[in-house]
């Protein structure tokens, strides 16, 4: 498949991610920060996010599994997760964290568990999507093309 086609594919995919709400404007900011001095910035940050999130999710699962749930700790973790996901623009993950925090305040374990499920689900989804995206990017780069820049206004309706 030639470069032009791949680029179009990448663009369409990115567009769909935004359309479906997986990513928001913050992700584009990250893309902006990627330059010649920092060619793999996005990948690095996203990888960091993956690491961080996985750790947090593990901790959350562990914490909520306890009999005496330490809601403060849970809240702290969720807060972190929310922060990370918002930093990279993983919108759905961030949105899933918000009710989670509310339920933490309410100290509602069941609801928290449900939220955790939700968060995990969202996280998996976004992880897959991002990985696919990066694969596409690698293909383009390998074929000698450059990754297109995406404009914000085209995504708002």
């Amino acid at each position: 498949m030639e470069v032009g086609q791949m680029r179009r594919q990448w663009l369409d995919y990115t567009r769909s991610l935004f359309l479906e709400g997986f990513l928001d404007a913050q992700f584009m900011q990250l893309q902006q920060l990627q330059d010649d001095n920092n060619p793999d910035f996005v990948v690095e940050v996203v990888s960091l996010f993956f690491e961080d999130s996985e750790r947090l999710l593990k901790d959350l699962t562990f914490a909520l599994d306890q009999n005496a749930v330490d809601f403060k700790k849970v809240d702290a973790h969720v807060h972190q997760l929310k922060g990370s996901s918002s930093s990279i623009g993983a919108q759905r993950v961030k949105n899933a964290c918000i009710p989670f925090r509310n339920f933490c305040e309410e100290q509602n374990t069941d609801a928290c568990l449900r939220c955790l499920q939700q968060v995990k689900q969202e996280y998996c989804l976004v992880k897959n999507k991002l990985e696919t995206l990066f694969r596409l990017e690698q293909q383009i780069v390998a074929a000698g093309g450059s990754i297109p820049m995406v404009e914000l206004t085209q995504l708002s309706f």
Binding site: A76, Q80, G83
Partner: protein, 740 residues
């Protein structure tokens, strides 16, 4: 004794007779001797007498005859032989000479006679020459008079003076009894006595112009002798049988400027003549001489020329005065126009400011409102308010633009934008209004319409909005339909705009947009007026009850600037209306199809955009956030150090750091940290600025930050541009608290 007569014997008988003979002979001899002497004397006196020789001969003859007679005296007595010899000799000589003389006389008498003839001839010639000299002298004198008259006449450019002078000088030169000028009246049907020599104020006689005598004078350019009894010659009330002298009349052409054609200068093609009448003194028995007539003719011509010059001068003076008046009027008008323009500009400037201030408040507060917690519905409302206010602000700008449009100083921007989303946005803006009026709003974008185009997005949107807005405004029911497609040249032989042929190329195409409504329609005759700025047709009050008429004029200007056309069609009142416009838009470069430029909304204060060397400390316990913030700041060129805890931050912070960004949304006590940093650098003037980064939009946060002495608060998420602006402002003002 009677045989020989010559030798008389000495007869003393006839002594008396002899005595008488003796005396006679003596006297004859005397005469004979004196005549030649006289002749010689006179010949000597006269140098020119040609026949001297003849006179000499004659003299000789006479002398000899005298001698003979003298010698005869001695022959009365007895004489000696010598006397006889002498006598004979004398006689012989006399005979010879007299014969010779006789012969000579025959020869010269014809000559003498012819001399006489020649003399007569010469005398005649002399008489003739005399006559001619007399004539020449007269002529020369006439010429002198004419020159003098002309000089007098031409020395002035005043009509009246010219005419008066003419009459006076003519009167003097020719010793006239009376001289008068008859001018044609305004109607051209009569001649009026305008000037006379002797009378000071001529009574206004009028004579009709069609008199035969007048026609006779006018038909020839010579001075014509006329009868003293004709009406024009009756210049003064003559009492009794007073007989006026011989009268001459001549025409004076009244030339106009248009008569001075090079080719028919001698042919005076004007029908406008005045009549000059000259009367000789009645008691002088003078007659009009030819040279006098000639003088009059020449003077008449000169007068004509002088009058024309005077007329031209009058004309040009009048024209000059008129021009001066016009100049003054123009000057005044210009100054008035300038004043009006200045007034308009002042008005615009003031109104602009007055209009902008509340607009600014609305926009600012709406965008502030947008940042707060809102329900989705509220947010939608606020967004619409914001969009509409922005639009209004743009419209206000356009009032300024319009004056710039007039000056021709407006230039369209050219940027790439999404055409489809532009239409979508128009629809979104109009939909609420349309649905309130229960109008159905449909749009159809052709499939071959490019997504991205190059052009002036703002003004195109304005144009479409204006047109669609009008359609909605003036339709009480029914539908509004918007169609947009690429204009093809074949479909374009449009009678409406015959010179316009949209030819697309690789770099641009022509967008055709048609807005149809089922509203109140327009009378086709009023359509041309619609595009006129501020024109409001009274019959259109149903259609434009409160419209200022500015919108369509601006639209047309924009469309024209985009090298297009806009027009309205309507079948009549109540039959709806279709507005169509075509504009030229650029097609983005194919090779850069996917590398779309960023529409960067650069904040107002750029300040320093180069932050190289600025040392920054980022404190955030969330690794991802920390990386993102670090990446952001590094992208802006800062030298970034990171810390993941307060202690680490305290340890790392130094005077080299310009700014410390700390995240305060985590459980870490950012506030405490801030206080401790203050303490660390309390003695130093230029301690690093402490800025809080938070996603927390609670009011308390801002107050807390300010309380602990933080220099700034920024809300997450932070874009590159935002960070850039923040850094510039921080470095400039040393404080920045974003509105929470």
């Amino acid at each position: 004794m009677e045989s020989c007569n010559c030798i008389d014997p000495q007869v003393p008988a006839d002594d008396l007779l002899m005595k008488y003979q003796y005396i006679s002979d003596f006297f004859i001899a005397l005469a004979y001797f004196s005549i030649p002497l006289e002749l010689i004397y006179f010949v000597k006196k006269s140098a020119v007498f040609p026949y001297r020789w003849v006179l000499v001969q004659f003299g000789a003859f006479i002398v000899l005859c005298g001698a003979t007679h003298l010698i005869n005296l001695w022959t009365f007595r007895i004489h000696s032989r010598t006397v006889a010899v002498v006598m004979t000799t004398a006689k012989v000589l006399t005979a010879v000479v007299s014969c010779a003389t006789a012969l000579m006389l025959v020869h010269i008498i014809p000559d003498l006679l012819s001399v006489k003839t020649r003399e007569l001839f010469l005398k005649n010639k002399a008489a003739e020459l005399d006559r001619e000299v007399g004539l020449i002298r007269t002529q020369e004198e006439t010429g002198r008079h004419v020159r003098m008259l002309t000089h007098e006449i031409r020395s002035t450019l005043d009509r009246h003076t010219i005419l008066k002078t003419t009459l006076v000088e003519l009167g003097r030169t020719l010793a006239l009894e009376e001289c008068a000028l008859w001018m044609p009246t305004r109607t051209g049907l009569e001649l009026q006595l305008s000037y006379t020599l002797r009378q000071q104020n001529p009574v206004g006689y009028n004579v009709p112009i069609n008199l035969p005598v007048i026609n006779e004078v006018f038909s020839s350019n010579r001075a014509v002798k006329i009868s003293p009894n004709c009406p024009v010659a009756r210049l003064r009330p003559y009492a009794g049988k007073f007989m006026p002298g011989p009268v001459v009349a001549v025409r004076v052409p009244l030339l106009h400027l248009s008569n001075f054609q090079i080719y028919d200068w001698p042919e005076v093609s004007t029908r406008n003549y005045a009549l000059m009448v000259l009367v000789l003194p009645s008691d002088s028995a003078r007659q009009w001489h030819v040279h006098e007539l000639e003088l009059v003719e020449v003077v008449a011509d000169q007068v004509a020329v002088a009058l024309s010059h005077a007329a031209i001068l009058e004309e040009s003076t009048r024209a000059r005065d008129q021009l001066m008046e016009q100049n003054v009027a123009l000057d005044l008008a210009r100054r008035e126009a300038e004043t009006a323009i200045r007034a308009r500009n002042d008005f615009l400037a003031v109104m602009n400011h007055e209009m902008r201030t509340p607009m600014h408040a609305v926009i600012a507060l709406s965008s502030l409102l947008q940042e707060t917690d809102l329900t989705a519905e509220q947010r939608l409302m606020v967004e619409t308010i914001l969009k509409s206010s922005n639009l209004l602000a743009t419209l206000i700008n356009d009032v300024l633009d319009l004056s710039r449009l007039e000056d021709g100083s407006l230039q369209l921007e050219a940027a790439t934008f999404n055409l489809h989303s532009l239409f979508r946005e128009v629809l979104n803006l109009i939909k609420p209004v349309a649905s309130v009026k229960k109008l159905s709003l449909t749009s159809h974008l052709a499939s071959d319409l490019p997504m991205y185009v190059i052009g002036d997005e703002k003004r195109l949107m304005q144009t479409i909005l204006n047109v669609v807005g009008n359609a909605v405004k003036f339709s009480k029911e029914g539908f509004i339909s918007i169609t947009a497609f690429v204009a093809k040249p074949e479909s374009f032989r449009d009678a409406r705009i015959p010179d316009f042929l949209p030819v697309p190329s690789d770099s641009h195409f022509y967008l055709r947009v048609q807005v149809k409504d089922s509203g109140s329609g327009i009378n086709p005759q009023d359509i041309p007026k619609l595009f006129t700025k501020f024109a409001q047709n009274q019959s259109l009050t149903t259609r434009y009850p409160a419209g200022s008429g500015l919108g369509l004029a601006i639209c047309r200007r924009f469309v024209n600037l985009m090298e297009g056309h806009i027009w309205i069609e309507s079948e009549g009142i109540g039959k709806g209306c279709t507005v169509t416009f075509i504009v030229k838009l650029g097609i983005p470069d194919r090779s850069n199809d996917f590398k779309l430029p960023f529409v960067t909304k650069v904040p107002g204060n750029h300040g320093s955009t180069n932050f190289t060397g600025l040392k920054v400390l980022v404190m955030d316990d969330n690794g991802v956030s920390r990386s993102v913030t670090k990446g952001l700041l590094m992208h802006l060129g800062c030298d970034v150090t990171t810390a993941s805890s307060s202690d680490e931050c305290l340890r790392a912070v130094s005077l080299e750091h310009g700014v410390v960004f700390m995240d305060v949304c985590t459980g870490l006590d950012g506030y405490e940290l801030a206080v401790r940093i203050h303490e660390k650098f309390t003695k130093h003037q230029d301690r690093p600025l402490i800025v809080a980064l938070t996603g927390n939009t609670k009011k308390m946060t801002k107050e807390n930050c300010m309380r602990v002495g933080m220099d700034g608060l920024i809300l997450k998420p932070v874009s590159v541009d935002k960070m850039r602006g923040v850094l510039s402002e921080l470095l400039e003002r040393r404080v920045l608290f974003e509105n929470v």
